[in-house]
Subunit: 328 residues, 2 copies
């Protein structure tokens, strides 16, 4: 039976949906729902395409009380820049949670993923970072380096940001962009240890396969969000740091075990603290997060289907019947 | 970077793509590719939505040499008929196998799945049924009961078809439709044992959770295709029948173990013949299928991502730039 499907392009989405406290609040509620139970979130479907130097992830989640659920497809094809194309693409499909009918297609080329990922970083900062952050640091110089700092600044309005990357030119460009976007002091640094030493909030945003942040660098009153690792074999934080922190919090334990920082910590035998808390459990108060200003906290974000369902239903509500309607 | 995406509706697809020997050949080639190696086909992402009496499956596969790969999303919401809506829906997304960019959206509401599923039944019949089939039987009275018989008739032009279902009215309606579509004798029967006894080719098309076809009913020169079971807990064929058959062939062993007929046979401990052959291995001659006219063969179809990639790339090639183009 034919029904109307709303199709919205990246340009239309960019014009209408941004990174703001509303979006952050919606992503926070999604994590809370995950902790409250009733959410159905199957393991990520992940397809590794060696022959094409690519990978594809499919994420989804059903959240009780939400009238839709999203299925998000994220291809990453890493030879694309040679062709003048971005590596990351994809789309989100919004289904009715009552009938399973396709309601909307968000042809976002990964934009909504960028937004919901940065929003999760802000949720982690709001829940776990010290109340006062003077200096924030970011390791990595890509899209998420910029968005994570912009998102964190909405909840911890720091006065200064430090940027580290292997390529100093890229680090300087990222710092310049952040200075302009946030109206604050921004500096590129070649020394990640100094960056961590001077920061109260650090976000790692790299696809590293060997740690970029050492356990020795931890200091009282530090919060770290590691958001780059999302595939088996990737790791940004030395396993010993997870044990040394007062609290190590996962977005989803079952994902962090196989594709987050916990993977390497378990493989090395260093992790002996049992099942970590999840971010949603901290949000609803079921598990402790930061317990003192001097505590050291780490949040491991691998990206969850609840974020996709939350952002997609938010966009749908905001859009009404805009975009192109196709009867199919 | 914005690029063109082709959007094709169910009505446009129905007008252009049908169940024919071309489609059957394409699905046969997809199974052959699966056996030749190099295919990447991750486990099905399956989400069970108890609260909505629904389920969602996501399938995909990358086939070397194909310039695209499909991701297929199939929601099944079983309270929909109460709302005047079909239970099954969904869409296929075709991605470039080189760049991962979305190339086409087939808003087919499950139509392409119907076609590629029936085509797989025809491949099984062509590979495994006796060379001469006088009478074919189908258990089940839904869309696939009709399509499976139409597909099988293209490769084994039987003169008579028998239809069994729990509801005799539906069985009679299905038989009437088949008589009209195929121009042959079609009869509804209340006795599935008699249906099997009189048939050389039987297809089971039910969502049964207790077997609808007994091992005692097997007879020389019989081929059975079981295509209804596609979820853990579903079973159509008595486990003893799998052992009693001369050949039991899976579309994909790893899927049949968890959601096909092999699941119950393994759980009961009855299956002791090791790893079954796959349909693709029979197609390329790597494993035997039917070895004599009197042999008893069973093919277990759970539905594979290679079928989706094969039908989607076929449709794309046939369509050129028809449908609606959206720049996103």
């Amino acid at each position: 039976m034919a029904h109307d499907i709303q199709i919205v392009t990246e340009a239309e989405l960019r014009a209408a949906v941004g990174l703001d406290l509303t979006t952050i609040g919606i992503i926070e509620q999604a994590f809370a729902a995950l902790a409250k139970g009733g959410v159905v979130m199957p393991p990520i479907l992940s397809m590794d395409l060696h022959a094409a130097n690519g990978e594809v992830d499919v994420k989804t989640a059903y959240i009780p009380g939400f009238d839709g659920f999203a299925i998000k497809v994220s291809p990453g094809f890493f030879d694309n820049p040679k062709l003048g194309l971005p590596s990351l693409n994809g789309l989100m499909i919004l289904f009715s949670a009552k009938t399973g009918l396709v309601e909307a297609l968000f042809l976002d080329n990964g934009y909504l993923t960028d937004i919901r990922t940065a929003a999760a970083g802000a949720v982690a900062a709001r829940q776990l970072a010290p109340a006062h952050v003077e200096t924030a640091g970011v390791i990595g110089t890509g899209v998420q380096a910029r968005l994570q700092m912009q998102a964190a600044h909405l909840v911890r309005p720091f006065a200064r940001v430090l940027v580290h990357g292997r390529d100093m030119d890229k680090a300087r460009a990222c710092a310049a962009d952040l200075a302009r976007a946030l109206g604050i002091t921004a500096e590129a640094t070649a020394d990640p240890a100094a960056l961590v030493a001077e920061s109260q909030l650090v976000v790692t945003t790299t696809p590293a396969r060997t740690p970029v942040l050492k356990a020795d660098w931890l200091h009282p009153g530090l919060h770290i969000t590691a958001m780059g690792s999302d595939q088996t074999g990737k790791t940004e934080i030395e396993p010993a740091a997870l044990m040394a922190a007062d609290a190590y919090i996962c977005d989803r334990v079952s994902q962090c075990e196989v594709s987050g920082e916990l993977e390497a910590a378990l493989a090395s035998g260093l992790w002996t603290k049992g099942t970590p808390a999840e971010l949603g459990e901290v949000i609803i108060g079921a598990k402790p997060g930061r317990t003192s200003p001097d505590a050291i906290t780490i949040c491991d974000l691998t990206g969850t289907g609840v974020q996709d369902t939350a952002i997609a239903t938010h966009v749908r509500a905001r859009f009404g019947n805009a975009g192109t309607i196709i009867r199919a």
